[in-house]
């Protein structure tokens, strides 16, 4: 998994690439914990993510909780398979998916 960030003032876009699973979610989790201070608008671009397991879901939930406190967050370019997982786990209820 690679994470590329694009910052623009208090706006942050994270371009994630690869899979987010138990093997590598830690990298994203750490990034979220350490790099979101001052960010008011976070976008997770999942265009190049082809797999998310529950470990990945937890990380996204973690990010959502942080952003709920300091601004807003949205998830972009979700593929069909991942969308199904979001729906199954009702993540669609609180995620802003664009």
């Amino acid at each position: 998994m690679n994470i590329r960030q694009e910052r623009n003032g208090d706006k942050l876009v994270l371009y994630i690439e690869g899979r987010i699973d138990s093997n590598n979610f830690q990298a994203l989790s750490d990034f979220v914990k350490n790099n979101l201070s001052g960010v008011k608008d976070l976008t997770l671009d999942l265009e190049k993510v082809d797999y998310i397991s529950s470990a990945g879901l937890r990380t996204i939930l973690q990010a959502q909780k942080i952003m709920d406190a300091q601004g807003k967050m949205c998830v972009a370019h979700v593929n069909d398979d991942i969308m199904e997982t979001f729906e199954l786990t009702c993540f669609t209820d609180f995620l802003t998916i664009i």
Partner: protein, 661 residues
């Protein structure tokens, strides 16, 4: 035919009419010739004066005309029962002509003999009376030839009936008053010059009637011209001398005209008949093309074998069979019989066939298909036809046959180690009769090696001089071939039926369908391997199974879910089972091809832990309240069909099952 008058109905109901008229004509001819010869003999003996030469000429022509009429009737005789309508009218006109000619000949023979004065008078009256009949039928035949049935024709017909009645009665007045003619003292016929024109009225009426028919007819111009010739001949004959008493060629001319028009119409009809036959042939071809007839029908499907055959009694029949794949795993089977034969039944059959298949393709149960087809046919059925249908849908994976029977013959079924037996199935009402008819489904499980035979009543009702083939013989015959393939079974049945019926005509279509359920040869692929329970190795644990699933044709979307489910379970094992130490995880998989399924067993020797007892996450909770965790097993439960856990010999054994569509 166009005109349905009382007269034609009378003629059509009496099959003996043509032979009777034929015999009568011969009698009249024999009597006429005998009288003529007697008269000549009497002349030779010197008892009677010579016959006038113009009379002799006329009589010769008239006898020839009678001959022609008899020969024409003779040619119709072999198939007299089948002919109706205009052919019967035609023979009637010829007979009327013969009667007329007969009296005319006798009158000429009796003329100028003082001793026969009274007879002459009676004969003259009879000539006029029969002539009215002859003209009437002559007109009627023209309207038939032109297929007239319009208003004008109806009015003219009434006039003609009135004229017929009038001019049959009118000559009788001559007994008391010489309205048409006089017979002088020498026994010689003479016209009453003042009112003689009256006897020509029927002829004129006939000519006008025919001309009216020609004008109002919708027939082709060719036919009209021919009928014009038909009326022209008598008119010309009158112009040529008919007005002069003595030369009587009118009747002869009329017979000749009749024969001419008949020949024309006959050849015209033959041409029509030819094209109709050609169209019938086309209809048969279309009908045959609609039934699946290429065998083996599904060469790449090993789980069943099917064969069907239809032997129509007439060129086009009302039976049909059909079979089609509704989807990869469902085979639709149909056998049906329309309550009629010929082209109308064939059209009805085609409509029924299309409807049954269309509804069956919706993947609804047989009873629902029959209910819908029945409603649809009933809503438009203006014929008295109906259709019996047996419809079965065979699940090729399980061998379960769901069927519904709308008044059709009972299916005959053979279990793998048994004999063909007739099955007493639930019967619904025939389709197309009552829109509210109710149909029921029934289920039979076909074990691998079972055979199903369905057929139409042409099989049990095949007949020879001693009786019917019958149900018992049907069962007996099919048992002889029960170990063979559907193709061989049908061939055997056809032979048995042919042997039974011998040379007897086939009355009904013989239609049969046989299917053998072979089932799938299930292939199982078992994998078993052991890994260090490390998160980093999860990919490697999953990969071989995903590859095997790909081999049996599981699509990538489903494979994604299997990966996810396995990932969640294995993540659990790798994360918690042995923590903080490490251990091993054993993964066993069983993959079957039919049905496509996966059984996974994941075994670890770590701490006892039943993941199924983990509480499902609260999916309705708000973000703040949502706990991190519990999601993985929830996802797995949702993806797999079955999850079970047991603890045995200090091992956690988790079994997951999934059957793929």
């Amino acid at each position: 035919m166009a005109i349905e008058g009382k007269l034609t109905r009378f003629l059509n109901k009496r099959n003996w009419i043509i032979p009777l008229l034929f015999v009568s004509m011969i009698v009249f001819l024999v009597l006429a010739v005998a009288s003529y010869e007697t008269r000549k003999y009497a002349v030779e003996l010197g008892h009677l004066p010579h016959l006038r030469p113009d009379f002799a000429f006329s009589i010769g022509g008239e006898i020839a005309a009678m001959f022609v009429a008899i020969i024409m009737t003779f040619s119709i005789l072999p198939s007299y029962k089948r002919h109706s309508g205009y052919i019967r009218i035609f023979v009637t006109v010829l007979a009327a002509g013969c009667v007329c000619i007969f009296f005319d000949i006798l009158q000429m023979l009796a003329d100028s003999i003082p001793a026969f004065t009274s007879l002459n008078k009676v004969l003259c009256i009879l000539v006029f009376m029969s002539e009215a009949g002859f003209f009437f039928f002559f007109y009627l035949y023209a309207t038939y030839a032109l297929q007239c049935n319009g208003k004008v024709t109806k009015i003219v017909n009434v006039i003609m009936y009135v004229a017929l009645a009038t001019f049959i009665v009118l000559p009788l007045i001559n007994f008391f008053y010489p309205i048409y003619f006089t017979i002088n003292d020498g026994g010689e016929y003479g016209r009453n010059s003042a009112t003689w024109w009256l006897c020509r009225v029927p002829f004129v009426l006939m000519v006008f009637g025919i001309i009216a028919a020609i004008i109002t007819s919708k027939e082709r111009k060719g036919s009209k011209i021919i009928v014009l010739l038909y009326v022209a001949l008598p008119v010309l004959s009158i112009a040529a001398g008919g007005f002069f008493y003595g030369v009587s060629i009118l009747y002869t001319a009329m017979i000749v005209a009749l024969v001419l028009i008949y020949s024309f119409i006959f050849s015209d009809h033959e041409r029509h008949l030819y094209s109709t036959n050609k169209e019938l042939g086309l209809a048969t071809n279309i009908q045959n093309a609609m039934l699946p007839s290429i065998f083996p029908a599904f060469p790449d499907r090993k789980e069943f074998d099917i064969y069907a055959s239809m032997k129509p009694a007439k060129e086009v029949g009302g039976d049909f069979y059909d079979f089609f794949l509704i989807d990869d795993d469902h085979l639709g089977l149909v056998i049906a019989d329309v309550s009629d034969k010929g082209v109308p039944a064939a059209l009805f059959m085609m409509a029924s066939k299309i409807m049954v298949q269309n509804y069956a393709m919706l993947n609804i149960s047989p009873k629902e298909v029959l209910t819908k087809v029945n409603k649809q046919i009933c809503s438009n059925n203006q014929t008295e036809m109906f259709v019996t249908i047996w419809l079965g849908i065979l699940d090729l994976k399980t061998g379960i046959l769901t069927a519904s029977n709308a008044g059709h013959e009972k299916p005959i079924i053979k279990k793998p180690d048994g004999h063909f037996e007739m099955m007493n199935d639930v019967h619904g009402f025939v389709v197309g009769w009552n829109k509210d008819a109710i149909y029921k489904d029934y289920e039979i499980k076909l074990e691998k090696g079972s055979k199903l035979f369905v057929y139409t009543d042409g099989v049990p009702e095949a007949t020879n001089s001693e009786g019917k083939f019958g149900r018992d013989r049907t069962i007996g015959a099919i048992r002889k071939y029960e170990d063979q393939s559907p193709n061989e079974i049908l061939r055997g049945m056809n032979e048995e039926i042919e042997k039974f019926t011998g040379k007897a005509d086939q009355f009904d279509d013989i239609t049969m369908l046989c299917v053998e359920y072979r089932g799938l040869n299930e292939k199982t692929k078992n994998l078993s391997y052991t890994y260090e329970a490390e998160i980093g190795k999860i990919d490697k644990m999953i990969e071989p199974i995903l590859n095997s699933l790909k081999e049996i044709g599981v699509d990538s979307k489903t494979a994604y879910k299997i990966r996810l489910a396995m990932d969640e379970v294995l993540t659990n094992v790798c994360s918690y089972a042995y923590a903080p130490q490490t251990g091993e995880v054993v993964i066993k998989s069983e993959i079957t091809t039919a049905p496509k399924s996966l059984k996974l067993t994941i075994i670890d020797e770590g701490k006892a832990f039943n993941p199924l007892e983990a509480r499902d996450p609260d999916l309705d909770a708000t973000v703040e309240d949502r706990k991190i965790g519990g999601l993985g097993i929830f996802i797995t439960k949702n993806i797999m069909d079955e999850l079970s856990y047991k603890r045995e010999e200090n091992k956690n054994i988790l079994v997951m099952k999934k059957t793929f569509e």
